[in-house]
Amino acid sequence: MTPNGAFTLGFILIALGMAVPGPRGEAVLLVLTLAFAAIEVRGASLIALRRAAVVVLPLAAFMGVVWVGIVGESPYQIAAESAGTRAAALAYVATLCGRLFFIVAVIQLVFLRFAKLTPLQIIRALALPATVKRVLVITLSLIGTLRHAIDRAHIALIAAGTLTRSPSLRNIIHSWRLIQAVWLSAITIMVGRMRDKWPVENTIARLDDTLANANPAWFSGDDRIWLPLSLGAAVVILVADRIGGAL
């Protein structure tokens, strides 16, 4: 499976999840997603589920406080101006968080499918315009630069007595100075690279050559099985409950 195919499949699954199909449609969607996880991602699927839980559980707790604790009724009851119940609010929060869990899990599954590739290899394999690939590579390379910038700025502000190592009110008051210092540090590093380092090393031309040499096809290999399968399943998911309802 190519990264193009995996990202397209992930997009289809998420779009179907947000289309709010009925119970039959959801069952088909779940089967399709589980098949992708079992066949393409295998054991790493558990990591995807764990990461999705880490993202969604705090959100579920927050939404529970808001909807069940404060509002005490579901949005449907509010819209219908009927008497609200906390049970309905809880059911609403559970449904919404279930859908969000599904979305996050699908995104994680797609990335974990290529866990053995480096980010640069994934970007090379994507069928995207050269400028988009370049900005993706630069964004990834900036993550390391920003980490250095944060470390430097943080340590400098601690040494100057502006921030403290442990959590404190002073850190909250002066957090803006940290952001400014990080921004300036990152800009200074990047100006140095663009002005001195990259021209000498001919970095940009080499990067373009690296990205252009891949010449990837849009879809190939298992994409030709997964994408028609997912499109066929999409039709079934969208009409399954309507046909059932009509009968």
Binding site: M63, P75, Y92, L96, I107, T131, V135, L142
Partner: protein, 205 residues
């Protein structure tokens, strides 16, 4: 259009959106602060409005994609980011000279920050409300959900509660964002801004 310094600016803007926006989201503050990078990118590319719009849009969407890994609500507000980029390119870019004046001329600075913030805030509230109501039933994972809840409890309808919450929290949030972007713009070295405005030489092969 997309020279190397501008691509680096897009990446920096996306990183700024992602870093500050994610911290605010996790703290559940009733603000967002997730478009500072978008506005800053537009300011740094003044007076070229087309470049400002396209680059800030790109920064906004890359930021959304990155932040979406932590906040699954965020990618659904992609259209709001386009609107923010457009207004930043049209309105904030016009104020870029005032924002960078030395010494700082306070009355026009404050006035421009407030004007840009209020316009961006009102437009993003109006564009975000249908997403908040129809996709998520009125409550998202951000701290502003508490404001929606308070309005609902006060007897407002879902749509009006989401709209009132947006109009109550978005303009102050966007004023803060424009202020932070303007301050970072003032602090950015002139050398970097000159690089952004220069044409890129052909790379040697």
């Amino acid at each position: 259009m997309f020279t190397t310094p501008r691509l680096i600016l897009i990446a920096l803007g996306a990183a700024l959106n992602c870093a500050i926006g994610t911290v605010v989201y996790l703290l559940k503050l009733p603000v967002f602060l997730d478009s500072i990078g978008t506005i800053l990118v537009a300011l740094l590319l003044a007076p070229d409005r087309l470049a400002a719009f396209l680059c800030s849009w790109a920064a906004g969407w890359i930021g959304l994609a990155l932040s979406g890994l932590v906040n699954p609500f965020l990618p659904w507000f992609a259209i709001t980011d386009v609107a923010i980029s457009l207004i930043a390119a049209l309105l904030c870019v016009a104020a870029a000279k005032t924002f960078r004046d030395r010494p700082l001329n306070s009355p026009p600075f404050i006035g421009q920050v407030a004007l840009c913030g209020i316009v961006i805030g009102v437009v993003s509230a109006v564009i975000s409300v249908p997403v908040v109501v129809y996709l998520f039933g009125g409550v998202t994972g951000s701290g502003s959900a508490l404001v929606v809840a308070v309005f609902l409890k006060a007897g407002q309808h879902l749509m009006s509660a989401a709209m009132l919450s947006g109009l109550a929290s978005d303009p102050p949030d966007k004023i803060l964002q424009v202020l932070f972007a303007a301050l970072l713009y003032r602090a950015t070295p002139a050398e970097f801004i000159a690089m952004l405005r220069a044409r890129e030489p052909e790379p040697t092969r």
